[in-house]
Every structure is written in structure tokens, then in C-alpha cells.
Symmetry: C2
Subunit: 325 residues, 2 copies
């Protein structure tokens, strides 16, 4: 209709500046008239690019990843890149499988949560030259491009604050650490803090459990049945902490008077609780944006990779107080 070859149409769509203004407007008119959309497959086949990146997250069901993901998506969209999200349900095998699915879908980049992962998988990604970035996790000498924060140091800081307030009998409700370096690092951080005061987190004071409200509640029930009761429960995550708080109330106890509770992540819900939750604030959105930026850079040129580390902040709210207060 515009009286030009398909090559010109292609150029109008992809590099408009290479086409004269006159032809371009004619082509654009035809495109608009026929409501034409380029065929994705043809495009992918010819250019060997899909302008798609994939992310595998543990779950969409709790809000932990939602905000960061949203920011990631927005930042990618600004560069015309679409985000495809898959979930692993915190299962390493399932994660590997989902990564394969995404590769099969021709993504040209990956965002993965955390670092703990079969080396063979990393090898495969490198062999294929697939750019990827790890988010949510960071440690001083991580060999992969990553954007995150120091889970261990943050957990340590939180536990130290709890100790500073005078707590000595501290229990922890952690996420499942298998295949989850963040959960594991948070446990280590708490151990670090306790060790600094000559204390230790023995087995009876540490419960690992999936990140669900109900699981947090159950864990709290078990911990609080102990005698003497712990005076503080440090949780690996806000959802667990929310569950714990609910259970504290359910047992007829008062937080923080009878037992203090702390969380991690600072999801919205944290200050809707009563008492509002003392937790570790994590800059979800900025992490998502930084991840997008880094991944786009990796994709464009195999340039140097600069890992990005964010600071976390301890947010003190009502759920933490000195013991017996």
C-alpha cells in the first residue's frame, strides 16, 4: 500500500531515522490503516532477539517480590523489553526447570533470585552466553553479576539491636534454608550477633519453615511453649513475623511486653499490624531498577559488570522493646 519494499517497512519500524521523512510517513499511515503488528516469530527468527527477559521468582503469592518485580518490569519496558515471570515455589529443581522453559522461550536475559544454585546451571548459562543477574542477594565476593544487599549483615544488625535492648533468650523463625541463600544468610547473621555476646542459637530455638502466615504462627506456638519463654523472636521475614504476632495474641500474650517480635523485608503490611512490626527495610524498587539497568547493559555489550549493593535500614516500630516491658 505504501508502495515500498518490506525492507523499508522493517527499517521504518526499527530504525526510523534511516528512512526519509516522506516514505516514513507513508509507511506509518499504512501501518496505522491496517492495524499492522509485526509477527513476533518472524522477528525473533530473523534478528535472533526477542526483547524479552525472564525472571524466576520463588512465588508471587506473598508481597515480598511484587514490588521489586514491578519496578524491574517498568524499567525494562522503558527500553522496549518485556518481562516474563515464572515461579519456582522455593524449589531448586523447579527453578532449574523454569529456567529451561524461559530459555526455550528465547529470552535474551535472565533475572534470578539469590545465588544458591547448581554450578552446572551457571555453566550452562555461560556456555550459551546468556546474560543474567542475581538479585536480592549480595556478598563481598560473589562471582556473578548481582544486585542486592548483605542479608547476613542486616540480620546481624537486627539481632544486635535486640541484644542491646537486653534480650538474652532469643529464638528465631527462619525461612527454609535449602536452596535459599538469603534465608541461610539471615540465620548466619543472627548467629553472628549472638556469638558476639557469647551466646548461641541452639536447635530448640531455631525453626525453619515456609514463608506463610500460618507456618509462622505454628512456629511461634512451639517456641512460646518453651519454659522459660524466649523474650524475643527474630523472624527471617515479615510474613513469618506477622504470623508469629497473630499467634502471640492468640495465646493471650502481649507483644512486645511478653515477647518481642522482629521481621525482615519491610513489606507494606508491617505497619498495619498491631503492634507495628520492627523490621529490616529493603529497597525493593531500587533493586528492581538497578537489576534492569545492569541486565540491559550486559545484554548490549559484554562489558565489565559492576555489582550493586544496597544498604538496608533497621526500622524500629512497636513490636520490639526491652524484655519484660
Amino acid at each position: 500500500m505504501a508502495g515500498v519494499s518490506t525492507a523499508t517497512v522493517s527499517r521504518v519500524l526499527n530504525e526510523p531515522e534511516r528512512v526519509s521523512a516522506k516514505t516514513r510517513s507513508r509507511v506509518e499511515a499504512a501501518v496505522a490503516h491496517f492495524d499492522y503488528t509485526p509477527h513476533f516469530g518472524g522477528r525473533a527468527l530473523a534478528s535472533n532477539r526477542t526483547n524479552t527477559v525472564g525472571a524466576v521468582i520463588p512465588t508471587m503469592e506473598n508481597a515480598i517480590f511484587a514490588r521489586g518485580l514491578q519496578a524491574l518490569q517498568e524499567a525494562l519496558a522503558a527500553d522496549g523489553v518485556t518481562l516474563v515471570v515464572a515461579t519456582s515455589n522455593y524449589d531448586p529443581e523447579r527453578e532449574a526447570e523454569q529456567i529451561r522453559v524461559l530459555l526455550g522461550r528465547g529470552v535474551d536475559g535472565l533475572v534470578l533470585i539469590g545465588e544458591a544454585r547448581d554450578p552446572a546451571l551457571y555453566a550452562m548459562l555461560e556456555r550459551r552466553g546468556m546474560p543474567f543477574v542475581l538479585v536480592w542477594s549480595w556478598r563481598p565476593d560473589c562471582p556473578w553479576p548481582c544486585v542486592g544487599f548483605d542479608n547476613r549483615a542486616a540480620a546481624r544488625a537486627m539481632a544486635e539491636r535486640v541484644l542491646d535492648l537486653g534480650h538474652r533468650h532469643i529464638a528465631m523463625i527462619a525461612g527454609v534454608t535449602r536452596g535459599n541463600d538469603r534465608a541461610a544468610a539471615r540465620v548466619e547473621g543472627v548467629r553472628d550477633a549472638l556469638a558476639g555476646r557469647g551466646l548461641r542459637l541452639d536447635e530448640s530455638n531455631l525453626i525453619e519453615t515456609p514463608y506463610h502466615l500460618e507456618a509462622g504462627a505454628q512456629a511461634a506456638r512451639r517456641l512460646l511453649a518453651d519454659s522459660p519463654r524466649p523474650t524475643a523472636i527474630v523472624c527471617g521475614n515479615d510474613v513469618l513475623a506477622a504470623g508469629a504476632l497473630t499467634e502471640v495474641r492468640g495465646l493471650g500474650l502481649k507483644a512486645p511486653a511478653d515477647v518481642s517480635v522482629t521481621g525482615f523485608d519491610d513489606i507494606d503490611l508491617a505497619h498495619a499490624l498491631d503492634p507495628s512490626l520492627t523490621t529490616v527495610h529493603v529497597p525493593h524498587r531500587r533493586m528492581g531498577q538497578a537489576a534492569a539497568k545492569l541486565l540491559l547493559r550486559l545484554r548490549a555489550q559484554k562489558g565489565e559488570t559492576t555489582n550493586v549493593v544496597f544498604e538496608t535500614a533497621l526500622v524500629e516500630r512497636g513490636s520490639l522493646a526491652p524484655p519484660g516491658k
Copy 2:
């Protein structure tokens, strides 16, 4: 390597039963050996199918859609279909744009939230023969394939329960109704209930606001500044209700003694609150599964479409009580 033509490889991958066991295993060995993944673009180009469906949701940031989406994704994955999610941030123009992006990505089906939408958009989808299903919304004579529940009836039932308990001065915090039929239907439902008792929801007792904790809190502050105070605040959504509850506490009032609060959606958080939230339970997961099933059917054959309606249930928890109790 397997000594067969590409045609045979293709068959092994797509219709294994059409290939003899011997050749098949040879091909599979070669596939495994070279870690071969079919090229997505080639596939899409040749078969004109991407095995991808798109969903446009308002936001990932609050948990409302997370669970349903997760279920949708799982159900689609069981059929080898990948879900691509885009967000509109409750903005109709942005939604239209995202739909175009997804079409451009060659999705072969769409899941959209709610029904309110430019007719031209529906026309375009039909013209292209693009299968789609509407979720989260249902009304008796919806002309499009939909899977949802009757928001209006559910809101009405909730408001009637509030009235039954003796409340007469009822206020409402609703979501923004522009381009959001669910939010609008919920307001209508509350109006219906009030009208049934000869009452009405006048302007000073209805605040429309985005679905955020903080917005809910602010709205509650304004409503509770009224004199006399409303004895019950019906919220269009659990997040708003959580914000309202926080504010009630912040004002030094007690729920439900001074003011009852109700929500809608029954997100997890609802029973972690104190008081726990009386709300309308919505079968998110089942909705997601049903949407997947319907969409896959539509995609396979342009057969008859049976809309699916789910029942909602009023879940009474601590935040609702008779006035002054």
C-alpha cells in the same frame, strides 16, 4: 548426529508417538547430548503459535491478584503454555497499550481483569480472532467470556449484614471507580443494601481512593472526623480496610467497639490484623484455574463459551460488631 532429518526431530519433539521408539531414543540422546533447545522464533514462525498467553493486571504490588495469577500460571503451564504478565496500574489507556504490547509479542490468548473497557478494543480483539477471557468480574448478561463473581451482590450482602447488626450510619471507602467495574459494582452493591432499608450513601460518606494502605488510612481519618461518627466503614478492598484499621487505632479508637470495619477479597493479611478483618472471601485460585481452562478451550476450538460464576462468602471476623459494642 542421530542420522535423521530435521522433520523427524521436529516430530520427536512435538508428536513423539508418531516416531518409532528406536529413532526416538536416538534423537532424544542427541538432544540431551547437545543440550538442544528448539529456537522459539523458528517455532513461532512455522507453526504460528507461541504457546504464550498474556494477562494484564492492574498491579503486582498488592496481593489481590497474586494468588489468582499464580493459579492461572500453574494451570497454563500444565498445558505447556507460558504466561506473560503486564500491568496497567489501574489506568485504562495504559491497559490498552499493554494489550498491544502483548499482541505484538504474539500471545495467542489474553486474560483481562474486569469488563469496563473501550468497545473499540473489544472490536479489535474480535477482528484479530484473539481469544480472551475476562476475570474477576461477572454479571448476568456479560457478552464476553468471563470467569468471576458478582461483585455487586457480594458487596450488597456484606452491607446488609452490617445493617442487620444495627448500623445505620455507614460510610464507605471505595477503590477508584473510573475504568474499574469491580470497584464500581461494589459501591453499587452497598447502595443497593442501603436503599433496601430506605437509606442512602451520600457524598460525604463515600470516598474513592487508590488501593493503598496509606490511602485507606487517610480516607478513614476524614470519615471519622465526621460528627456524629459513622459506626461502620465498609471498604471496597482489604488493603483499604487494613489502612482504615490502622488509622482507627492511630486515632485512639477501638474497632469494633467504636467503629466496625469490613473489607473485601480476603487476602492473607486479613486475619493477621487485630482485630482480624471481616471480609468477603473470593476464590482467587479457583478463578485462576477456571480462567486457564476456559482460555485453553477457546484457543483450541472456537466452541461455545460457558461463563463461570463463583460464589463468594462472607467471612466474619473480629472487626465487625453491633454498633456501640
